[in-house]
């Protein structure tokens, strides 16, 4: 690390970082030994060790998907730390959190956010959850909200029942990689009929150069329950490429409702390859709200499998690609039962030669009746150099299906700019206003502080976009 912190901060607003004080950092590269070391360090049960080793074999066999970005080839899997442990145990209270970590969180505004809004904070620092706080009323309701590692120790039965069932290691190359070396993430179990009123939140950061972050999140909403989970990230910038490859599995049981909100602002050198999937049973509702800013390459398609009648899936996706960035985002909905409904709304912005792609899959299985789906993709190009593509795939094997699909690509409108400027707004303020309006349908679904943060991030991205 030779780059001075100030220089980095200058380049990237949220690019502050801490000296690396991690207690343990695995050697670079991937091997059975590394996987064994990870499992040993964590003191895991044998079945998890075997799961990891099986997944590693799968990773070695699997190829990148043929449609994947050519940039994937640039990832050097031998040049990555697969495990970093920042402190040796989970912390329960803010005062116990090491000073240098607190400093970072302070700058992210976490304690304040917590005072105001948070039910519990599961803040992932490097690969371990170091700070975890659940309000007593949640505990009393029987809600489990823990770091995934801790949940494996304390609730092994329920963990084992669901872990790896929604996204099996063989699903794709990066799911296999995550399954082999996963560390950290959040585990949530909401018992039958319990409605968690306040969003549960976690902040994520990558803080070790060349460190892959492989968090693993598992959410189980039991029958008739309700929960909203929110994750947000701002990552420090580093000189060489980082890999973030998470897996999120969600089980939404009969009549339950889950919303999973993500706001990401990875620094521009991060490969963000995430597998997010939910299964929704009878009359259940699953909603993904997914905002992707930053990163070098993001490939992320949250998906919902509608398994039983009455299930509803919803995906709201927002992507912003700046210079040198490619946001390949979208969503997948699989209708595997009759009387199921779904909505996908995708909004993307590109500027300074950035590229956004919408990639979507809508599948309706044979024999499913009365299926309704709406897909809408809007792309806004902020200049001539930028690019947007749409790759929608529909596999419809049933006759009684009502599908609406609309896709629009537009340029920042001269007439809109003139209209706003004629009311005194500068060209930059006018462009920001148009963009904020464009993303409003997604932003209005966010908790207040995230909406504010997202608008601020977009404004930062916009700066210098015009004139």
């Amino acid at each position: 690390m030779t780059t001075a912190p100030e220089a980095i901060v200058g380049e990237y607003k949220w690019g502050f970082y801490d000296p690396e004080e991690a207690l343990f950092k695995a050697n670079k590269g991937l091997s059975r030994e590394i996987v064994n070391v990870i499992s040993d360090m964590k003191g895991e049960p044998q079945w998890m060790r075997e799961f990891r080793l099986r997944a590693l074999e799968i990773f070695w066999q699997k190829q990148d998907p043929p449609w994947g970005s050519p940039q994937l080839k640039e990832i050097d899997f031998d040049d990555i730390h697969y495990y970093v442990k920042a402190t040796d145990r989970d912390e329960r209270s803010w005062d116990d959190v090491p000073e240098y970590i607190r400093r970072t969180f302070d700058r992210l505004g976490i304690p304040e956010a917590e005072r105001k809004y948070l039910a519990g904070v599961g803040a992932q620092y490097d690969s371990e959850v170091v700070y975890h706080n659940i309000r007593e009323d949640l505990e009393k309701q029987g809600v489990i909200f823990l770091g995934t590692d801790q949940a494996l120790k304390e609730h092994e039965d329920i963990f084992k029942e669901y872990f790896g069932t929604v996204v099996p290691p063989g699903d794709n190359r990066y799911a296999a990689l995550n399954s082999a070396v996963w560390s950290g993430g959040s585990f949530i179990y909401v018992p039958k009929g319990v409605k968690v009123e306040i969003p549960l939140q976690a902040y994520f950061r990558i803080n070790t150069q060349n460190m892959g972050q492989f968090e693993r999140t598992l959410i189980i909403a039991d029958e008739g329950s309700q929960v909203h989970y929110v994750e947000g990230c701002t990552a420090p910038i580093y000189r060489s490429d980082s890999l973030h490859s998470a897996v999120v599995e969600i089980i939404v049981k009969r009549g339950a409702r889950v919303r999973y909100t993500t706001i990401q602002n990875w620094s521009n050198n991060v490969y963000n390859l995430v597998t997010k999937r939910a299964v929704a049973y009878q009359d259940a509702v699953m909603e993904w709200v997914d905002g992707n800013l930053g990163s070098k390459l993001t490939m992320k398609y949250p998906s919902v499998y509608l398994m039983e009648p009455g299930a509803h899936g919803e995906i709201l996706s927002l992507a912003f690609a700046g210079k040198g960035q490619h946001q390949d985002a979208g969503g997948k909905i699989v209708h595997a039962a009759s009387n199921t409904t779904s909505t996908i709304i995708s909004k993307s912005l590109s500027k300074d030669g950035g590229r956004t792609s919408y990639r979507g899959l809508l599948k309706v299985y044979e024999g499913c009746e009365n299926v309704k789906s709406t897909v809408r993709c809007d792309a806004l190009l902020l200049d001539e150099e930028s690019r947007s593509d749409t790759y929608p795939t529909m596999e419809i094997d049933a006759p009684d299906v009502h599908i609406q699909h609309e896709a629009y690509v537009s340029k920042l409108g001269e007439d809109q700019l003139f209209y706003l400027m004629s009311r005194g707004l500068s060209e930059e303020a006018a462009a920001k206003m148009i963009v904020n309006g464009f993303v409003e349908p997604i932003v209005k679904e966010l908790p207040m502080e995230y909406a504010v943060e997202l608008n601020r991030l977009i404004e930062l991205q916009m700066e210098g976009a015009v004139g």
Binding site: M421, R423, M433
Partner: protein, 250 residues
């Protein structure tokens, strides 16, 4: 009586097509002028060029507003100087609420942050003046508005921004009879001795409510005739064909 706006031999084109071919007009503080003219004669072009729409290229002449040429000024600079255009076809800005838009516009035009309380009071009183209900301000700017709602929203913006010189491009079209009266009453209330008003319209009925001192007829990019309110009545009675024929004879 001080001169507010002076248009001198103004020429403008869009693409390769010359549309304004030498327009001359002087508007003093406290005056109301009306511009009439056949479709396509260049009325909206004039309005857009006055406001600085970059789609049009000024090829000659000058626009002097408050003693200063505004030709080199961007639309926002002109707005901050006190110029306002109520558009013939207001543009939708999806996702942006009218109230947010107005707040930013007021701050921009005043050049300072107007306290939220003061802003709200002003907004509510102007909404009352224009008889729009409170929900209206929460809607997205011109998005899904009816023709009449758009025009009312334009007038609400004018009422809140309090410009020194307002150009109303066919604000009457799309308004029903009651709405026309409401809007006209509001404009009359807003009009003051320091302000200038330029009404672009096809119909006498607006001019029955807002009485101009001067009426101009724009034909093929030039002001073909100027007069008092009787000119508007003449046009209403005879139509443009007869007017043009008479013009040709003269």
């Amino acid at each position: 009586m001080s001169t507010l706006l002076e248009i001198r031999d103004l020429r403008a084109k869009i693409g390769e097509k010359e549309i304004l071919k030498g327009v001359n007009l002087v508007i003093n503080a406290g005056e109301i002028h009306a511009i009439m003219g056949p479709n396509g004669s260049g009325k909206s072009t004039l309005a857009n060029v006055l406001m600085g729409n970059p789609a049009y290229e000024v090829t000659g002449g000058d626009i002097v507003f408050k003693g200063e040429s505004v030709l080199e000024m961007s639309p926002d600079e002109r707005a901050r100087k006190g110029l306002f255009l109520a558009f013939q076809y207001p543009v939708p800005i999806p996702g942006v609420t009218l109230v947010n838009f107005l707040r930013q516009a007021v701050n921009a035009v005043r050049g300072e942050e107007v306290p939220i309380r003061e802003f709200r009071e002003k907004l509510f009183s102007k909404m009352e003046l224009l008889k729009v209900d409170q929900d209206f301000a929460r809607r997205y700017v011109n998005d899904g508005f009816s023709g009449g709602e758009k025009k009312r929203a334009e007038m609400l913006q004018m009422a809140v921004l309090e410009p020194a010189m307002a150009i109303l491009d066919e604000t009457d079209s799309g308004l029903d009879i009651d709405a026309l009266r409401t809007v006209a009453d509001a404009v009359n209330k807003l009009m003051n001795p320091n302000m200038g008003l330029l009404l672009i319209t096809h119909y006498q009925r607006l001019l029955n409510h807002i009485r101009p001192q001067f009426v101009h007829v724009l034909v093929d990019g030039r002001i073909a005739r100027s007069g008092g309110p009787e000119l508007a009545e003449y046009l209403e009675a005879r139509g443009y064909d007869e007017f043009l024929a008479e013009l040709a004879r003269a």
